[in-house]
């Protein structure tokens, strides 16, 4: 069965206006803040990680028909079932977020950087080509930036690798780079010209020398 993300939207033709929204307008139904908080509060239980959550969301078959917090809700329900929360032997939470500690907990960072096990393969200004093939699992290289040549603009250190972390296969930390592309490389000769450069943050396995 091949993996398909319904969330990879960059460069696609999508109908509809972009509707500006005032700063204070955070929720649009009373259940929305509860979903936001449920998802955040489930973090410390360790039942899933951020990459598993993203994978659960982007593979919802009706992703494109759902609102933001509906996606969160549906993915949370899906993961809870997968993890056996409703079974006779539900997994024990690693930790439960208590009300008295909640305010401090969200000020704490989940650091995704790790110590390098090997030197970085690429350096600033290196030309790199992104891999073209789509792997059969969650990944963070958008379709529009596959098989394209760009330039390394920043080196961010070594970070948790979503491709393995999302599958429960461990963090497998990898060097992370900002790779910048000229608009023509991504979209061909567009008229009118946008006069733009687009970058993605790409893990080392997404790149080859160009």
């Amino acid at each position: 069965m091949s993996y398909h993300s319904n969330a990879d939207l960059g460069g696609q033709t999508v109908r509809g206006a972009i509707v500006p929204e005032p700063e204070g307008e955070l929720f649009h139904a009373p259940w929305e803040p509860r979903v936001m908080a449920l998802v955040v509060a489930m973090g410390p239980t360790g039942l899933s990680n951020i990459d598993m959550n993203r994978a659960a969301r982007e593979t919802l078959p009706n992703y494109r028909d759902l609102g933001y917090y509906e996606i969160w809700l549906a993915a949370l329900e899906k993961l809870l079932l997968q993890k056996g929360v409703l079974s006779d032997a539900p997994p024990a939470p690693k930790e439960v977020l208590r009300a008295d500690l909640a305010a401090a907990a969200i000020r704490k960072s989940s650091n995704y950087s790790r110590s390098p096990a090997a030197p970085a393969r690429y350096a600033l200004k290196d030309r790199v080509r992104t891999v073209a093939a789509h792997p059969d699992h969650h990944t963070r290289l958008p379709a529009y930036a596959r098989g394209k040549v760009g330039v390394v603009e920043r080196v961010h250190g070594v970070h948790v690798f979503p491709d393995t972390n999302s599958q429960g296969l461990g963090e497998s930390p990898q060097w992370l780079y900002t790779v910048a592309f000229d608009e023509k490389e991504l979209w061909g000769a567009q008229e009118p010209k946008q006069h733009s450069t687009i970058s993605v943050d790409a893990f080392e396995p997404y790149l080859e020398p160009a």
């Binding site: 969330a7 939207l9 960059g10 460069g11 999508v14 509809g16 972009i18 509707v19 700063e23 955070l26 649009h28 139904a29 009373p30 259940w31 803040p33 908080a37 449920l38 955040v40 509060a41 489930m42 239980t45 039942l47 899933s48 990680n49 959550n53 993203r54 992703y63 609102g67 933001y68 969160w72 809700l73 993961l79 809870l80 929360v85 539900p90 439960v96 977020l97 208590r98 009300a99 305010a103 969200i106 000020r107 704490k108 960072s109 989940s110 650091n111 995704y112 529009y144 930036a145 961010h156 948790v160 992370l176 979209w187 009118p192 946008q194 006069h195 733009s196 450069t197 970058s199 943050d201």
Partner: protein
């Protein structure tokens, strides 16, 4: 489930402009479903429902774009802070007390007359919560995520921002755990304002790159690009 969450998409369920083609869902059904889930997770010992109230209050009253606005205003007033922000944003922002989820690995990118920065997450809706709070609906919506990378000038026009061709647009697609904060240009004619007065001018959209500081004042500057909009 863990961490800062950002997947999303075209908005909410109550039939707004972006899904006029879809029938609104009855809120009561969702309300019941969420309530049932909350009760279940409480009974199974995974959550403390009182903690949910604390989280909601924090994102409604404490963690929002006013934090980012203070960072920007300080960078405008304090050259040394600005330098630190542009070289190690995570540390500079943490020094103001704005730490935590979705702010773990920060990068600040500076607008100049030559370069305008725009931030998007085409794969979900990654957003710097620690400085900007929860993302607006449009940021999570399919139209913004689809177009920002390919038609940034069209997107900016939808926000009433028109940039000259001589201004290069630099788009940052947040595809990993690095979060981007745009340092907008300080409007001219604000030399007499102090840091907290300046912070009031800084809009959320200007820190994402879909707005310019000063452009919301209704002056002609709103449509004339980076040089405009000075109050």
């Amino acid at each position: 489930m863990s961490e800062h969450e950002h997947d999303s998409h075209s908005g909410h369920s109550h039939g707004d402009h972006s899904h006029a083609d879809r029938p609104p869902r009855p809120a009561s059904a969702l309300e019941t479903r969420v309530r049932a889930l909350e009760v279940l997770l409480t009974e199974k010992g995974y959550i403390d429902p009182a903690a949910l109230d604390v989280l909601i209050d924090a994102y409604q009253t404490k963690i929002g774009p006013r934090n980012g606005a203070r960072v920007v205003a300080r960078a405008w007033c304090d050259t040394e802070f600005r330098r630190r922000l542009l070289t190690d944003a995570t540390a500079a922002i943490a020094s103001m007390g704005f730490t935590g989820r979705q702010g773990e690995h920060m990068v600040a990118v500076e607008n100049t007359p030559q370069v305008h920065n725009l931030v998007v997450c085409t794969l979900c809706s990654c957003y710097p919560w620690a400085v900007l709070g929860l993302p607006p609906t449009w940021y999570k919506s399919a139209p913004y995520r689809a177009r920002a990378v390919k038609d940034p000038r069209g997107v900016l026009r939808e926000f009433g921002v028109e940039l000259p061709d001589t201004t290069h647009i630099r788009i940052w697609d947040s595809t990993a755990e690095v979060r981007y904060l745009v340092l907008p240009q300080r409007p001219s004619g604000t030399g007499h304002l102090n840091e907290s007065e300046l912070a009031k001018l800084v809009t959320r959209d200007s820190m994402i790159g879909t707005g310019l500081v000063g452009s919301a004042t209704g002056l002609a500057g709103g449509a004339t690009g980076l040089a405009g909009g000075a109050p």
